[in-house]
């Protein structure tokens, strides 16, 4: 993979992160109720965060 493509993928990931951890997407999960016993907002934040890190690992190590 060329450095150019790698850069573009990283920028895309950063934008994806900004989208995931911001209004309005964040508001969708800012509701009551639980997921596996954990409040939905908490579960969403940690799961989205883990997924973003996994994607970054994928791009970085390719």
């Amino acid at each position: 993979m060329s450095e150019e493509t790698k850069s573009q993928r990283f920028v895309a990931l950063c934008m994806l992160g900004m989208l995931l951890f911001n209004f309005p997407i964040l508001a969708l999960f800012n509701v009551g109720g639980t997921l596996f016993g954990v409040p939905v907002l908490y579960a969403y934040l940690f799961m989205a965060w883990a997924a973003l890190i996994a994607l970054m690992a994928l791009v970085a190590e390719r």
């Binding site: 800012n30 639980t34 596996f36 907002l41 973003l52 890190i53």
Partner: protein
Amino acid sequence: MLQGPVIILTSFAYLGLLFAIAFYADKRADAGRPVIANAYVYSLSLAVYATAWTFYGSVGRAASDGVGFLPIYIGPTLMIALWWLVMRKILRISKQNRITSLADFVASRYGKSALIGGLVTVIAVIGILPYISLQLKAISSSYSILVQYPQITMPAAAAGTSIASDTAFWIALILAAFTIAFGTRHLDAAEHHQGMVAAIAFESLVKLLAFLAVGVFVTFGLYHGFGDLFARAAAEPKLAAMLTPLEGVAGGYASWVWLTILSMMAIMFLPRQFQVTVIENLDERHLNKAIWLFPLYMLAINVFVLPIAFGGLLHFPDGAVDADTFVLTLPMAEKQEALALLVFIGGLSAATGMVIVETIALSTMVCNDLVMPVLLRLRALRLNERADLTGLLLGIRRGAIVLILLLGYLYFKLAGEAYALVSIGLISFAAVAQFAPVVLGGIFWKGATRRGAAAGLVAGFAVWFYTLLLPALARSGWLPAGILEHGPWGIGLLRPLELFGLAGLDQITHAMIWSMLANIGAYVGVSLLASPGAEEARQASVFVDVFRQNPDTRGARFWRGTASVPDLYNMLARFLGAAGADASFRDHAAIKGRQWPRDALEADAELVHHVEVQLAGAIGAASARIMIASVVKEEALSIEEVREILDEASQVVVYSHRLEQKSRELEAATAELRQANERLTELDRLKDDFVSTITHELRTPLTSIRAFTQILLENPQVELEQRRKFLGIITKETERLTRLINQVLDLSKIESGKAEWHESAVDMREVVADTVTGMSQVFEEREIKVDTSVPERLKPVKADVDRMIQVMLNLLSNAAKFCEPGRGRIEIAVSEHGGGLRIDVRDNGPGIDPDDQKVIFDKFRQVGDTLTAKPHGSGLGLHISRQIVEHFGGRMWVESAPGQGACFSFTLPT
């Protein structure tokens, strides 16, 4: 068990262990076998980001704001996604210019300006003081709580106690001594502190393990997992509100966004992060792993923050226990002495790690960018004539470390006690965020100038001071509180917390909006108004175009003047010592293919540039510039000349890029042509082979036909019996000839793509049955036993039925040919295999050599020695069979061991 002496002894034992690690790593580094030269240690050292703030403060924040602590860690994750773009550039620039600190980086970019370097240093030192005081507060309060064990009492405000009996004061002094021992034992030209990095990486492991241990204890020891804990919290009306909406609790989305942006800046521009990420980096490639390992670390250390916060709130419902101490007080309340001690050590790790790296980074800045430029300018000191300045440099740094820690203690006494840990830390984050425009602008925008940078820094810092630091001091009673309520001199518009009437925001958001506006506005505005000087223009090009330069001529091409080699050598020796200067001159001579000091060196532009860069590694770019100017007669280049050189250089770059591209295209075309030529030659050779083989194959039967017809023609009296035999041979050979010609025609049709294929759904059961019946005569003649195992129902394959019969006939007749007459045995097996059918034909003949197996499917390949043994066929059958199978999307191969028969198999997709 947990008395004062035990705790103090354990703490010192732990600090001793850190020192041992650092010592070992330094020894290994000196021996040229560094322990820290791997991406994992690098990633762990970046985790110095997690301080006492993370360790104690996150839980405190979570206990009041729910998820409000998270942007501090999510922000850096987002920024790190951009590191490949931004940090790689900063790393490259810093390595090429031997940058020693953040202040040095900024000063170097804006024309090696001592003014800018000093400005950055002052902002950094003042801005970081709250942060250092946070660590002192965390250590001292965790100690005072732990020492009360088994009671849990919050430490009383220390305002009344004298300094001598104040724990925080002694902690500040011990940390100063420890940092001095760590970071300023000797002067390294590259500012690497490998021992420190090893110790920091170890501390990162300790604090992570300690925090995870408490998390597991609270979640699974005190409660039955996450679900149970959150369910119980939801049952408490007071806590239930925190489990849901974000807006009411964490200051709303605006605050969330600004905290994210703030921490994005912090991860880049905190002096200690710049130190471990950039200055201590040994290999650019370590970034690849750190990009995901470090965010993973932050995720791991945050997983248990909410459970501990809710556990604490459920456990101490009356609010008598400060939420910032839950991590420690929960194990204490449950009488877990060992765990409590581990937590204390973990907190100590988090705090000491931060203090060590931060003060080393700041002391380097104070020394190189604040004190040295001033001292060097004071001619009365005659520093230029001193033989060895390394002692002076180390002395300044040690003094700076003590001073910074004492100032941190002072801030703690003045303002620290009124705030929670996280709020103290955020003030520092907002201060270092002021570096973002000048650094990021500096590496991507050539138009940024020294005056613009100075204006931006001053404006941003002033607003920060007014809107964040001033209120902190006022709240602690050191300034009249009326300033906050009515504004200075009663001017309402200037109220520090609602500047120009901007109300309804939390303090950090408010300060960030105004300071960034002032900072970026002044930076861009003044840069556009003032044109850059020669030195600035050239440094701008060195920084912005770092990936495009030819490393041999960087910087050197901008210099014109006269110098002498002994002058340069002596000056370098003063700062690096004689050994350092020797090594540096040897390196430079080696690049030019000479041996120093045997061969004389010329005091040319390259040597001067080399010396300046080496010097910058020790005392910073701005000081190095002053020193060089003192021993070298320079002709100042005008801005026009610099521009000309830059234009010329960029044209050359563009031109050479184009040339490179052209030659790459040419190479590609040549390679293609060569390939095509090779293929043609190969085809030509194959054709020749084919023609010669085919003629040979045709001649064999023809020869025998001719011989026998001649005998019959010339000897009319041949006996009838004999005649019959001869005619039989002739017929057979003719048949062979016909078959051969048919196969050749068939092959040429297949290969040229003109063969006719009649695709239909073929039932392989029928094909097998038909061919076996067709061959039954042959099998009987040779007494061969045939076993077929075909499933009752088979999916039909899409193929040409005649071609399939052709393939099967070929395989069966081959098998029959090689079976020993009398004891022959052929097994035919059809099975469903993956998405298709697999057909095996196994014989018990002599088998096929492994070497022959590779070529048996080639044209005219007959196994065995064709010279001695009579060939058994044309050598085209298997080749054609394979072509047919492959045409229908299948595969054909052979498995065999000599002496154990052969198994020909092929697959067909259904």
